[in-house]
Structures are given as C-alpha cells and as structure tokens.
Symmetry: C2
Subunit: 244 residues, 2 copies
C-alpha cells in the first residue's frame, strides 16, 4: 500500500517564508524602524500568492517582530520609537501616574561569566562578559537595582557613559549602537529580603521585602543575549501581568 498518511517533514509554505523573513531581519537587510517590502512585492519575490505571504507576516506581527500600519506598510519593530517607552518593563505606579524615569550608574566593568549565567546565555563559563550595575529611578526615587550581564563579544564598547547617553534605556542603545534587537524575554519572579548593600543602594532598611525579577532577553532566532536581575521596591509600584 502506498499511503502517505503521515508526513513528518511537512512544513507549510508560510512557515518557510517566515523563516526567510527572519533571516533577512538577522542579516540586517531591513533595520529596526524601516519598512519591509509590500506584501505584493514579497509574493512576487518568493513566487507565492499574497495570501501566503500575508499569513507569514501575520505571525511575525503577532510576535511583535513586525508592525503593520494600514495604508502605509509593514515595519520592523523597534525599541527606539515605541509609543510605550519600555516594552519589557512591566512595573507601573500603583496610582496609575506616568513617572519620569532616570538612570544612575553604579558600575560597568569586564568580568568572567559564572556557570549559571553562562548556561542561560549559551556561552562558555569563564568567558568575558560585561557586568553592569545601575539604579533605576522613578520620579527621582530609586525603585530598581539592576544587575546586567552581557557577553563581551557582540557588546564590545558598552560603557557607563554610553549607557547614560541613552538614559539607561539599554534595549534602545543595543539596537542603535550595536545592531542587537531584542524580541523576546522570559522572567522568573520571587520575593527576597534586601541585604545591606542592596538596602544601601535603594535607600531602604535592611530586610525590606523586594520583588526579584530575573530576566533573559532574546534576539531574532531565540538567541539569548542578556541576563538581568532586578530587585524592585514595590511599595509604590507593582508588576502588572495580563493573560488568557
């Protein structure tokens, strides 16, 4: 009997197109903020119907990798012009006010990757990384103490003055200065007590409960690029999450 009942290697055309589009994004053919070719142009380029291209673009738009604008075109998502300033920052003031954000550098130096971070960033333990510590201030008050680690290789040239130049907006700086665009993140949250150092930095009493946010950020193709541990004061802010 010749029944091709199950075809394990089957992959829809629109998935293949999606992969090709992602490749173009990785290669830098279309930069963040720029328009990609119209659906009709892409259909011609790949020899497909508009509908198939459409489905591929739909998925990338759902993943917030592309942004559709009716009547104008489809654009590469960017951290530089988002209506909402910080796409991955879910901390909001409890009273709903929109507060000014400031960055205060503590340190920025070369270091060696510990085993845990190396595993999460998919690099060799002991390889060179850049180790950043900084304070985020909401309405001039310290709220988050961040510890950020990125591999030295694609992030060469990251210094305290550079970070301050972008007022602490790391993803915006990565994108513009290094061509590294983050598309996804996952976070692990818990509650911890402030130790002496942390309490001193945040200006609170030792043992104050803090929200601990450990985050790994990924660029195109699910490649991990940044590890981050944020310790947050949650007396005047909370972490907001919504799901289905």
């Amino acid at each position: 009997m010749n029944k091709p009942q199950v075809n394990p290697s089957f992959q829809p055309l629109y998935q293949q197109i999606k992969a090709l589009l992602t490749q173009s994004l990785i290669s830098g053919e279309w930069a963040p903020g720029a328009a990609i070719p119209s659906e009709m142009e892409l259909a011609v380029r790949y020899g497909l119907s508009q509908g198939t291209v459409r489905k591929a673009v739909d998925e990338l738009a759902a993943e917030k990798i592309l942004v559709r604008r009716q009547g104008k075109g489809t654009y590469v998502a960017t951290h530089s012009e988002d209506t909402v300033k910080l796409r991955f920052l879910r901390l909001v003031a409890k009273d709903g006010t929109v507060e000014a954000l400031d960055n205060k550098m503590i340190s920025c130096e070369k270091s060696k990757a510990c085993a845990n971070v190396a595993r999460l960033l998919n690099i060799k333990p002991g390889s060179t990384v850049i180790d950043i510590k900084r304070l985020l201030l909401f309405a001039k008050q310290p709220v988050i103490l961040d510890h950020i680690i990125v591999p030295a290789t694609p992030f060469k040239g990251v210094t305290a003055p550079l970070i301050e130049e972008y007022n602490g907006s790391m993803y915006r700086m990565y994108e513009i200065r290094l061509g590294v665009h983050m598309v996804r993140a996952d976070e692990r949250l818990g509650a911890v007590a402030a130790d002496e150092t942390v309490a001193g930095n945040l200006g609170v009493a030792v043992a104050t409960p803090l929200l601990s946010i450990e985050r790994v950020s990924y660029t195109y193709g699910d490649k991990p690029m940044e590890w981050r541990l944020g310790l947050c004061l949650t007396d005047r802010h909370h972490y907001f999450n919504q799901f289905e």
Copy 2:
C-alpha cells in the same frame, strides 16, 4: 464632494461573527469541553464563506476561548481537562520537578464586599460576597496562602466541602458546578513581609519576604468574577512569565 473616506462605524464581518459566537458561549449553547459546529456548518448558518468564519474562530482560538483540533473539530476551552492542570497558576518549582498539589481550607463564609474589591468586581460596595481562605500545598508543603472573594449571586452554594471535593481547583469547580468559565485574568505582583497570621499559616518566620499576587479573573465578555490575593513563599518556587 462625496468622499466616504472615513467610516467610523465600520466593523468587519468576522468581528460580528466573533461576537455571535461569544454570545452562544455565554448562553451555554456550547458547554466547555464540547465541540462547536464545523466551520462549514457555521458558514452556512451565518451565510458567509468558510474563510470569514475561520478568521473569527482563529481569534477566539488565539484568546484560548476555543481550541482547534485538526481532523476532529473545534472545542470550547475548559479548565477540566487541560493538559496543564492549572492554566492560571504560574508558580513552578525552581528545580523543574512537577509536584503534587493539595488544598487545605481555612475558612469559607459570607461577608460584605469592601470598596476596593467591589470596584474591581464591578458590584455594589457592601453587597454579599463569599470570602474564602485556603492554603495551597506543593509536595505537601504550604506555599500559597490564598484569600478569594466572589460575589454571592452566581456563586451561591460554594462551601468548604465543595472546594475540597475538587481538591482546591476553583476554576474547575466554578465551571462544572456553577457554569462559570473564566477566560482571562490580570495580576499585580509585589513583595511583602509576612505578618504574624500569615507566617503562622505558612509555617515560616514573621517578616519572611513573600510574593504577593493580586488577581482579577474574567468570564466571557470581560466580566470580572473573582478577586484573589495569594501570598507565596518563593524559596523553592518562582513565578514564570514569558513575553514578546
């Protein structure tokens, strides 16, 4: 000039179909776990092409209100048979193990809605509610102290024995016993210190840092139905979140 350049009242057909499908879900025409009519049947019923029905169903599937199963049909999502036991519980063991879950009731009694909860549940302050306190145990160890408030009206008959009958799986119980199906939730997280009562219930020292999770759950049509405050020990678990 007669240019209908902008039509503010324009609504796509598939959005109207989506609303009709939601109405059928609210009315109970299709119960959780049951199959809805096939795309072709729906297309005939509403006098549309399959593609248009498809787009409506696609959106409801993306919202996890419907579940597509290739070759079988489209089903109403349910909390009763999810492969993942608890759809809205994002607390996972740090070591990745899957732990047994148990429920220990503390209290379940009638009460009056305070202003804050009344506002969030969209009911009148002072109206009758059911006030539940319980402990969730992971691998026999207390991890979450829950305080749950639901309006008395649709939740009449909720008692401690009923909750224990479902081993604390509230959403499963709401769905099967009360016909209330939750489709969405939002949460506000922070860190707090355990007071004496809480510490006693969780079996930890006073002032232990706890993850505070305030959640409002919604049924079809974004109607808020349950308020919940969970205080969680995060020494062996963390709250996992992933986004784009």
